[in-house]
Symmetry: C2
Subunit: 423 residues, 2 copies
């Protein structure tokens, strides 16, 4: 690669709020999204919440001349909602579906049915290997009493792990999506500290858009004003994150967001705001001087966030086991009740009542069985994440004890060490 | 790394048949397995079907001095059954749980509850990066009418993809496990052609063990003789597969299998045979001469197996959709029946019969709902694998048309190309 190598990348990200039958003006908004993408001609458009594959196919037809490559990530019962349109050929793609993603009995929230995932695209641009990730984490329905907090932390951890293990040969890593995490939330800090990804909003010197870079703003007519009450400017939960590895340097030249309106016609494209970033990748000679941003302070910040996440996951494991045990007791009681009802039905007397109670009893039994299985699986999934995290925490502590200068990504286990681990 | 670098790796693999309450002499066999591993001192022991975490913990205690590092891969309701013991520190580990793994209503087979997975360990050995994978695919219960064939093909594909995306910086890739695939089965060919992995049994010049390298043999007293009837020597479904990337050369010096007996005490360690391989990794200067094993013949073999797998997955998608549609009709009929029963119960007359029929009707409705959701998810999972496979097939055909000399692993999308794809 030439020493004066330079590459400009224009990136678009939007959570499209494309729920069939439920999202207002979906068809019109999708049409205008297609118009905007055609007009602006980004290198890569990463979309979330395109729940209908027909919407994707329509967009694909419309965008074919400007974005010859596209992919829709399928998963779960409904789908992941993730898709991507690219000006450049996609060399490879794959996806990882998060192990934990809410509860099947929370039907009104629906996340469990979606199969929330992270999609990966590998692009080769003028000899540079770009790994672009698009994701959508579990929604937050109640910030005060967030029953999905542990799942979101586990998802952030899996996301960091997936990026780490699949980007080892990438020159540039890009992550876009709706993380459903505020910038200072545990999951967001965990992700950033573990991967070393930089936040375009913090890095750019040229930002134009909503106040404080918010991606759900009260000015947007599709947003529930009641939910945003505690946040006068709105919330920032959609991100453009990036990093370059040794030999390359990446910076965010400009970052724009929509501000509750379509940039052209006035009505919003979605209930979220779109992010439009211009990134610049340059060749940079390998540096042998220690990076002042990777000192002991950063290491202890990583250890601190890992400890915090470990505690959260540990609580989650205990809670999942409690639910599984509770469901186990209900199964036992349900079986007793059924035996009693059979005896009553056979003996006459309150026969009709006994028969009438059969349906709810069998229902309770089956329901408890499903709850038992689900929470056993949840406990296993959280234990897995906790074990992985504990391993990384052990390595980070070793590095701290040795006073090593190591990059956050390296603390995900890449450095040499001698300690045996238990997981 | 020194030009005369050489590393000897002793690998052990066994499907331990460790089902609590069901597997015969489990405790005794696990004890003897521990003794054998301690005596032989392998570099890496990769185990499958260690279903009880207590068994793992007992082994761990026993093996701690000789194998200071260990990991148990947790997933699903029961677990993945996979674990590993290592003489060397484990730098990193992660896992991928297969999207499709049988049917929840096939309770007697139980695979769905296990969360079958592939586990990855990254080891740094004298500066060499070794990615070791351990896996266990869905069992084959009826070879003549194999209802799990599509799932196993999808699992083989996901396994190949996982290895491809996570081993880009590895010097040596090792895959051990119970693939539940005969050497010429579609899944096995797909895995080998896509990853470029070599089969220790075919590569070594020094093999000692069961006839034709079989890993389930009629001499083993735990094996069902009836199931092995069509195979006089047994079947080969457990493997040690490996490859080295540019700069290294790997060969299998010796391969041993047990032959239906414990090598020391006479009774078998499991219903499967153990594999013991000695691999030798040497430094090899980068070769610029084309590799004669990667010619047009290999390319067309890859294309042929990809086409075959695509057809199998396509059939699977159609079948999954058929089941989802069928379940949809049953749901509709169930709702009608429930409404009718409500009317009959309210109207008197056959009231008791109507009430009695409530339970099975609700049961059928809930069951059909679950079947619908499951097969929708199955169709999405198979469509995903089909799309990924189609992309790789497209690239392989492009390479064939261009007459490029490319390695199988490269055909998983690494080479530069211009074609837009649809998935």
């Amino acid at each position: 690669m030439k020493p004066n190598f330079s590459l400009r990348l224009r990136i678009f990200n939007l959570n499209c709020w494309g729920i069939p039958y439920l999202s207002k003006h979906r068809g019109d908004r999708m049409k205008r999204l297609g118009d905007l993408l055609n007009m602006e001609s980004f290198d890569l458009a990463l979309l979330e919440e395109v729940w209908s594959e027909q919407d994707f196919q329509r967009l694909r037809q419309k965008l074919l001349p400007a974005y010859p490559a596209a992919h829709y990530f399928r998963s779960g019962v409904i789908g992941s909602g993730l898709c991507v349109f690219s000006k450049h050929p996609i060399q490879e793609f794959t996806q990882h579906v998060y192990t934990l993603n809410g509860y099947p009995y929370m039907i009104h929230h629906g996340d469990w049915f979606c199969g929330k995932a992270v999609g990966l695209l590998v692009l080769h641009l003028s000899g540079l290997v770009l790994n672009a990730y698009v994701t959508h984490l579990h929604a937050e329905y109640n910030r005060q009493k967030d029953v999905y907090l542990t799942h979101r932390v586990a998802q952030a951890w899996e996301l960091a792990q997936f990026i780490h293990h699949t980007s080892k040969k990438a020159d540039v890593v890009l992550l876009c999506g709706d993380l459903n995490l505020h910038p200072k939330d545990l999951g967001c800090r965990l992700l950033k500290e573990c991967t070393g990804l930089h936040d375009a909003y913090h890095e750019t010197r040229d930002f134009k858009g909503s106040e404080e870079g918010c991606t759900m703003v009260p000015e947007n007519c599709y947003v529930s004003q009641r939910e945003l009450e505690p946040f006068p400017f709105g919330i920032r939960i959609d991100y453009v994150l990036y990093k370059a590895v040794s030999g390359f340097y990446i910076s965010c030249k400009t970052l724009r967001t929509t501000t509750g309106h379509d940039p052209h016609s006035g009505t919003p494209l979605s209930d979220h705001e779109a992010l439009m970033a211009t990134l610049c990748v340059r060749h940079s000679p390998p540096q042998h001087t220690p990076d002042p941003t990777q000192g002991p302070a950063e290491r202890s910040r990583l250890i601190s966030v890992l400890k915090e996440a470990w505690t959260e996951l540990d609580l989650g494991v205990a809670q999942a086991r409690w639910w599984a045990t509770f469901a186990g007791y209900v199964i036992g009681l349900g079986l007793l009740l059924l035996a009693l009802l059979c005896a009553l039905a056979a003996g006459g007397g309150v026969r009709e009542v006994a028969i009438l109670l059969w349906t709810p009893s069998v229902g309770v039994l089956l329901g408890a069985g499903a709850v038992y299985l689900f929470h056993m699986q949840e406990a296993k999934g959280l234990s897995r994440a906790r074990a992985e995290l504990q391993h990384v925490l052990g390595r980070a502590r070793e590095a701290q004890d040795l006073g090593l200068e190591s990059q956050p990504a390296l603390l995900l286990g890449q450095q040499e060490g001698d300690g045996a681990e238990e997981q």
